[in-house]
């Protein structure tokens, strides 16, 4: 194979994966936003779009993946090179599979128990399972078993019996997933038609389909070219922003004689403890030297789309919206750029992957530049033109702002570009401030907990797995930031236009300038410090990792407690005859199709 073609193919795959990530998370975010609105306002939210499938087909669709999973896991445990005696990483994958088996088990039992509570038991097995208790107790039970597996696996799984644990875990996962799939499939196959709703995920799909078939109305006196061009100019930059964000740690390979990557020699990931010597494959689409500056160039282009749409529509409301969008985005671009200056001074690079590596080696950006984090976050929300900064749209004032005259797919492109801008800004924030793919104590060898120069804990993880964990950590951080932005959107009311401008120019801008000054002084101070003082700085960096880990643990425990807290119920008030009648029938769940 021509090495150039190989690299081009890899580049294409990376670009495709990142674009798919942006588009899909954007679509899912539209669903998250609507359902979150429901959850916040005590309603269900959109969950009714459905595809009716014949029961047999639905059963096949439900069981097929489970059988595939079982087959893959069995292959991993018995057929693959991992199952050979003394293979590397056997004990790690063994423990992982045991946990996966326990997870599949309790999730299945909990969902069966929940279904029995909803519609009654359909067979003796369900009756028996329902006697375990509520879904809540099943979850508690599952968490306890997880904890037991963690404790016992630490003692019992050694290098000698690692293969046994791997095969045991594989059998457990395969058996449980096949059993649960068979249970679900048998129930589905009995139904004549099954309405597949996927928790309401089909709603955005239905909306997309609807907009695609809507009439493409162009205002008669508009500037046709610019009117048609504007959605693309708004849409495209939001998507290509993701190109400079690293989605995982760089992979180190060997090189062959002519200096090309030799993919057969995977050496590990570029993380604390290892820098790639020669062959380096970064997990970002464009390995640009300008890095973060590319982000600003592209984000600035987005303004043009909104302003053009407002100008070309031949509508005063659109024009107002376009002007508002342009002025708002230009104002907040300034703050965004200035907050980044502090980061550039600390990290000493404009390349985003090197920034992440710096954070992995020292401390996360949110600890080094806390002020910049909040400023950047506020400015990023303002850049996406969403609530509380949705003045360009301003439904209560100027109809729909710069896309008043847009309908169908062109409107959907504006709408969607907002969501993709949320995704890309979240991805960038997590890379700049939250350590990107890095997790606390994450090194090129696995989890190594260091305090000062002493090593407290070490758990080695195979390098391939490390890359996967890193990518998952990055995706997880980005998605949590996206969800946070959605929640902010449902919490805060819209700013007034003068408030927005005052916030941008008279609050955020001076604070970001002060931030640069403080950062400069701090860096000067740190450079001129003695060796002992610099060591204590490094120690503080390690402590920040401990803080993150502790916060994560606290959040996990709090979440478990939250899950296990029962619902607070008030005394029933039989205020209406319908309620009294329903009580005689045993509530609405049992009396489903009555009347």
């Amino acid at each position: 194979m021509d090495p150039f073609l190989v690299m081009a193919g890899i580049g294409f795959v990376k670009a495709f994966a990142v674009v798919m990530f942006g588009l899909n998370v954007g679509v899912i975010l539209t669903w998250v936003e609507r359902r979150m609105r429901g959850m916040i306002q005590d309603s269900v939210g959109p969950n009714r779009a459905a595809i009716p499938l014949p029961g047999v087909v639905a059963a096949g669709a439900a069981t097929g993946p489970a059988f595939l999973l079982a087959g893959a896991v069995l292959w991993l445990g018995f057929g693959s090179s991992l199952a050979e005696d003394g293979a590397e990483g056997q004990s790690f994958y063994g423990k992982l599979l045991l946990h996966a088996g326990v997870f599949v088990g309790w999730v299945t039992i909990a969902s069966i128990v929940r279904a029995v509570g909803e519609r009654g038991a359909k067979n003796p097995l369900e009756t028996t399972l329902a006697q375990i208790g509520t879904p809540r107790t099943v979850v508690l039970f599952g968490l306890v078993v997880h904890a037991l597996v963690v404790i016992f696996a630490a003692f019992l799984v050694t290098e000698e019996n690692a293969k046994l644990s791997l095969q045991l875990g594989a059998l457990l996962v395969a058996a449980l997933s096949v059993a649960s799939a068979a249970h679900v499939g048998a129930a589905l196959a009995k139904e004549k038609t099954v309405r597949v709703t996927l928790l309401g995920l089909l709603h955005p799909a239905a909306d997309g389909l609807k907009t695609a078939f809507k009439a493409d109305f162009i205002p008669p006196k508009s500037d046709k070219l610019l009117y048609n061009l504007a959605p693309w100019i708004a849409y495209f930059p939001a998507l290509v922003l993701l190109a400079v964000v690293p989605f995982g740690p760089a992979l180190c390979f060997g090189q062959d004689a002519s200096g090309n990557l030799d993919f057969s020699t995977f050496q590990g990931i570029e993380a604390p403890g290892r820098m790639c010597e020669a062959g380096r494959l970064s997990l970002q689409v464009a390995d640009l030297n300008v890095g973060i500056l590319y982000f600003f160039a592209m984000a600035g282009t987005g303004i043009v789309g909104a302003a053009l749409a407002g100008w070309a529509s031949d509508n005063k409301f659109s024009l107002l919206g376009g002007m508002r969008a342009a002025s708002q985005m230009v104002s907040y671009e300034v703050t965004m750029g200035l907050t980044i200056v502090g980061l550039l001074m600390v990290y000493g690079t404009v390349r985003v992957d090197e920034m992440v590596l710096w954070q992995a080696n020292h401390a996360w950006g949110v600890f080094v530049q806390p002020l910049a984090f909040f400023l950047f976050f506020a400015a990023a929300i303002a850049e996406t033109k969403r609530v509380p900064f949705d003045i360009p749209e301003g439904e209560s004032e100027i109809v729909a702002g710069f896309y008043t005259e847009y309908a169908g797919m062109k409107f959907a492109m504006f709408f969607f570009s907002e969501f993709i801008a949320v995704v890309s800004s979240s991805a960038l924030i997590s890379a700049l401030f939250l350590g990107g793919w890095h997790l606390p104590f994450f090194t090129s060898e696995g989890i190594v907990v260091m305090l000062g120069q002493t090593e407290l804990f070490r758990s080695e993880i195979p390098p391939g797995m490390l890359a996967v964990i890193g990518a998952l950590a990055f995706v997880g951080k980005s998605i949590s930031l996206c969800v946070l932005q959605v929640i902010i959107r449902w919490t805060l009311p819209r700013f007034r236009y003068d408030q927005l401008m005052r916030l941008g120019w008279r609050k955020l801008l001076p604070v970001s300038l002060v931030n640069i000054m403080i950062t400069g002084i701090a860096i000067l101070g740190a450079d001129s410090m003695s060796g002992a003082a610099q060591e204590s700085l490094a120690f503080a960096g390690q402590l920040s990792m401990f803080l993150v880990a502790a916060l994560g643990l606290v959040a996990l425990v709090a979440f478990a407690i939250f899950l296990l807290t029962p619902r607070s119920t008030k005394q029933l008030v039989m205020s209406t005859s319908a309620a009294r009648f329903a009580r005689t029938l045993g509530g609405i769940r049992e009396a489903k199709m009555e009347a």
Binding site: G117, R136, I487, T576, F581, L585, I588
Partner: protein, 221 residues
């Protein structure tokens, strides 16, 4: 301020009496907007998490029984339906006699009482050697326009024979065209009551049977 608790202070140029409204103090915490922002975020996140949990665990409040409880109380309509009260006036039905013929004697009381004029009856006589010939009429046609009906229940009140009832518990289904809302006699006879019954609880004494309150016409002649 201590004296003003008894006598209200005078405010403004027009000397309006009243206590001034307490305004939040302009502390840095209030002015910076950040603590309130975090409080609001906490409320929305908590609400969203709690409701999501209850939906996932299937423990959300019963939309009818616990409709005043916190949480999601919406009814997912076609799948879940609010039970109608016992005396809910649904689609009409025509009750049957034991032999399956309509109880209706085509007296036109219901169509007269109907304020929406949605009932149309064509009366006919029982003929030949039928048991009821000479005693009663029967409806040759009995038509209700369910689209015109206002579900007031006057027809049920007016009926002397307990022949028309609205105890089906069904609300009229949506149809594609107006003709489908015209319910003919056979359809009305086939709609069961809530317990699936086609007859009425009230007894009906046929002519010739013991306790028949009507006039025995044939014997008079």
């Amino acid at each position: 301020m201590t004296a003003s608790t008894k006598t209200l202070p005078t405010l403004g140029p027009r000397n309006v009496q009243g206590t001034p409204m307490t305004r939040p103090a302009r502390t840095p915490a209030v002015q910076s907007y950040i603590p309130e922002l975090l409080k609001g975020l906490g409320i929305t996140i908590g609400s969203a998490l709690r409701n999501t949990k209850e939906l996932a665990f299937g423990t959300r409040p019963d939309p009818v029984l616990e409709s005043i409880n916190d949480g999601i109380n919406t009814i997912s309509y076609p799948e879940q339906q609010r039970p109608y009260p016992e005396r809910f006036r649904g689609v009409h039905r025509l009750t049957q006699r034991e032999d399956g013929s309509p109880r209706c004697v085509a007296c036109l009381c219901c169509s007269t009482a109907c304020p929406a004029q949605c009932i149309h009856i064509e009366a006919g006589d029982y003929e030949g050697d039928q048991k009821r010939a000479g005693y009663e009429k029967y409806p040759k046609r009995f038509v209700i326009d369910e689209l015109r009906c206002i579900f007031c229940g006057f027809c049920v009140e007016a009926c002397p024979c307990d022949a028309i009832r609205m105890d089906t518990g069904i609300h009229p289904s949506p149809y594609d065209s107006r003709d489908q809302f015209i319910y003919e006699k056979n359809l009305l006879l086939s709609i069961p009551g809530r317990q699936g019954e086609h007859q009425s609880e009230n007894p009906r004494v046929e002519p010739g049977e013991e306790g028949f309150a009507g006039v025995a016409r044939l014997q008079q002649h």
